[in-house]
Amino acid sequence: MAWLQTEVLIIGGGVLGAAVARELSRYRVEAALLEREPDLGWGSTKANMCIVCQGADALEFRPEYKRSRLVWESIPMMEPLCRELGVPFKRIGELTLIRNNEERAKYQKLKTRAEKVGFTGLRFVGRDELFAMEPHVSREAVGALYNPDIAVVDPVRLTIALAESARRNGVEVHLETEVLGIERSGEEFLVETNRGEVRCRFIVNAAGVYVDRVARFLNADEFVLYPVKGFIGILDKDLGHLVSHEIHMRPEAPGEMNIVVPSVYGNLFFGVVLRLGRKGDNSTTKEMADTALRNLRKVLPGVSEGDVIHTFAGFMMFRNWELGWHECVVEASRKVPRFVNVSIGYPGVSAAPATAKEVLRLLEKEGLRLQEDPSFEPRLEAPPSFVDLPPEEQQSLIERDPRYGHVVCRCETVTEGEIVEAIRRGANTLDGVKFRTRAGMGRCQGGYCTPRVIKILARELGIPETEVTKKGKGSELLPLRSKELLG
């Protein structure tokens, strides 16, 4: 007997899989999402600059590509979506620095092109205005191209909220469930997972970096994707004041982007150093770190190595790396009916809302019947974020549940109440708590809160502390009890 039987199966709980699940939950259709990790959004979606294209910044995307269309169509959808789901979204604007005439000419061209496509709002700012807006950026700049629309989100929270909303509207979400193989049997797919067999009629393959591997189970990989590793660094919150816009500088070498961007939480992200890499190897290298820092210093000369509180790398899938430009894969397989592949590469977060709608159109074409569900509830109540609340609300929260009066993460001011709530909503690992609440993301990187979060996890999950993991099986944090090794 099948472990799970459903109409539509979504493979992958990144931002794209979750967006598709949420979109499907508007309709009366049986659907399930499978994610192999213990929580949502741990693939490319968590290794991210958090930028959402919100206007003419999408100008770098060439009009003739589907990828551009999906980014553009998403622009008006993103902010309302975040509001509906209670996900932080912040419009910050972008300044592309200009250092010489050659750069000015290049950006003039881009501006003209954007205006032809219908974008407005772009303008050049001179030296004085630039330094009034951003007093700390390099004095090498003589001006900038200003785009007021660009925004930032928290991609992992967006993914979690999308999946949560989908679940509340009827989509099954299964974590720690990995697809190991797929076969066809008549009108059905038989999907092998670590939990048992899944039977379904439609498949949405949103497996991120492994989208090609999953497609290969059915020889539906009619595309070649190159895994491109991207390196990102994060600066101490105390330097958050250094810039308030996304700052972009033309990179020195191909395979680099030179961006500094304030996150929705007020610390600065910098990167991205891009290198072809081996999938699954998310390790950073000294070379990448040095390059990123060197680039950063060109924008913000005052920053040093000691200001970096965290670094990480993640993958995006590019269709043609050599050109430095790529098209996405959002298409129904030509060989396998009722099988849709979804991979954006960059910028998948920005493109998620329209991509989800596109996937539904493709599914309909493949024969899925979509009938609106009048009971669909678009709104989701976000878990409380204590620091962001006004004092009166903080006070009433503590009165309702005193655990909100216990600060567990000192750097980001995260309370026990928030951690318990995150666990109630599905976090079951240290990283899960971290991505959902920010506990451990600050300058001490969990030095203070790690022992405390481990205790809370053990207590709430009803497991011994020795079984608490960082990110799922095989990553046990404290596998042994004191004296255990002494026999």
Partner: protein, 415 residues
């Protein structure tokens, strides 16, 4: 608890904060309040179950908890008011303090404040060690808490990067727990902590010490599987070709402590980039009037005893301030000179006595440390890991000629 009308509020109840609260009470403050975010008084001392505490302060060799116990008893005997499980969220430039606990949020404005928030540990990212993000990497202090307070062990085969005191103490601790410490790896040509810890924690247990080496990469995606260690050149850069692989499931980092000054910064307190702590005068008063600081929040000490002593100075200053006494007189700056990394206090105002701490930059032999023309002493050897404490009497200070605005503190070759 009624928080209005507090004379001296002490933030943090480690060895510094407890000593400050006690001294404030002894010096005549009516209401002294000690605020601590943890469940009990004592700060880091509870996880320091080894001995070596109190040799200076009590003339006895105590464990951390024993040292703490003496202060805790005194805190309660003297009627210091305590607020446990209470985190200070903010201190305003006007000394307004906002606290949070399970009872809710509260604000109050004491007459004077002593900062005693201690320090935090440097992390892997601040060193920029590349590699994956596996489980099994901890700072040594966090591991110390996990092992000694929670009774949990991170693994069986351990590499320790950095030979700070906490790292060396954990090397011994984990060995006693039955784990194998594969190596303590130190980038400098000498250990970072106290000699007594090098001998008692490493040599006595035959733990390999790799000087002039560093960890250049960590391996493993889900759990740590090993580290790459390389020899470094005199500029502390890894030498290509010298890499060795060490299999291990645990990496502890003991690579430096950073004074915890997030609250101070928001209060508008000026920080010294050399110490990471506030700039202060001899009473440990910061640039914000009525806000004092002592212990590791001010600068990282090697010995708890000095934390307590220094915090007592801060408490005395705080009580004087609470009583409305102000220090008059011109200000003289103390400036680090040759081979001196930092000096605390950074300025002197009015009369002595002055207790001064300094640290050198580099190890040197046959040296003389001098504080202007006021004080000097010969040292067979000076080391960054060993803080130098100098007591200047009021008489010493009176020898200062009029009009001097600056005193250089220097470490020079003894002739």
């Amino acid at each position: 608890m009624r928080l209005q009308g507090v004379d001296v509020a002490v933030i943090g109840a480690g060895p510094a904060g407890m000593a400050a609260a006690i001294r404030a009470k002894e010096a005549g403050a009516q209401r002294v309040l000690l605020v601590e975010r943890q469940e009990e008084l004592g700060g880091l001392l509870h996880q320091c179950i080894h001995n070596g505490f109190g040799l200076l302060y009590f003339g006895e060799d105590l464990t951390g908890p024993e040292y703490a116990k003496r202060f805790i008893d005194r805190v309660y005997d003297l009627g210091v008011e305590t607020l446990l499980e209470t985190t200070v969220l903010e201190i305003s430039p006007e000394r307004g303090i906002r606290v949070i606990n399970k009872g809710g949020l509260q604000s109050f404005r004491p007459k004077a404040v002593v900062l005693a928030m201690g320090c935090r540990e440097r992390t892997r990212d601040q060193l920029g060690i590349p590699g994956g993000r596996p489980a099994g990497i901890f700072t040594a202090g966090t591991a110390q808490r996990l092992v000694n307070v929670e009774g949990l062990l991170p693994g069986r085969r351990v590499v320790i990067l950095g030979s700070g005191d906490v790292g060396m103490i954990m090397a011994r601790r984990l060995t006693l727990e039955g784990a194998r410490v594969e190596a303590v790896v130190e980038i400098l040509p000498y250990v970072g902590g106290l000699i007594r810890n090098e001998v008692q924690c490493l040599h006595d247990f035959d733990i390999p010490l790799l000087l002039e080496h560093t960890v250049t990469e960590v391996h493993g995606e889900r759990h740590l599987e090993g580290v790459t260690v390389a020899k470094v050149d005199p500029h502390r850069r890894p030498i290509p070709g010298t890499e060795i692989q060490i299999e291990c499931d645990t990496l502890l980092l003991s690579v430096g402590l950073i004074p915890e000054n997030e609250l101070s910064r928001r209060a508008g307190v000026e920080l010294d980039p050399l110490t990471g702590g506030p700039t202060v005068d001899q009473w440990r008063e910061t640039t914000v009037p009525g806000v004092f600081a002592g212990g590791n929040v001010l600068h990282v000490h090697d010995l708890v005893d000095n934390c307590s002593w220094e915090a007592e100075l801060a408490a005395e200053g705080a009580v004087r301030f609470a009583k409305g006494e102000r220090t008059e007189g011109r200000e003289i700056c103390l400036r680090p000179g040759r081979n001196v990394r930092y000096v605390v206090p950074q300025r002197i105002r009015g009369e002595g006595p002055v207790t001064l701490f300094l640290r050198v930059r580099e190890m040197e032999e046959g040296m003389r440390v001098r504080v202007g023309d006021l004080w000097q002493k010969r040292f067979r050897v000076v080391k960054p890991s060993e803080q130098i404490k100098v007591e200047l009497s009021p008489k010493d200070l009176r020898r200062l000629p009029d009009g001097v605005a600056e005193i250089r503190v220097e470490c020079e070759v003894a002739g």
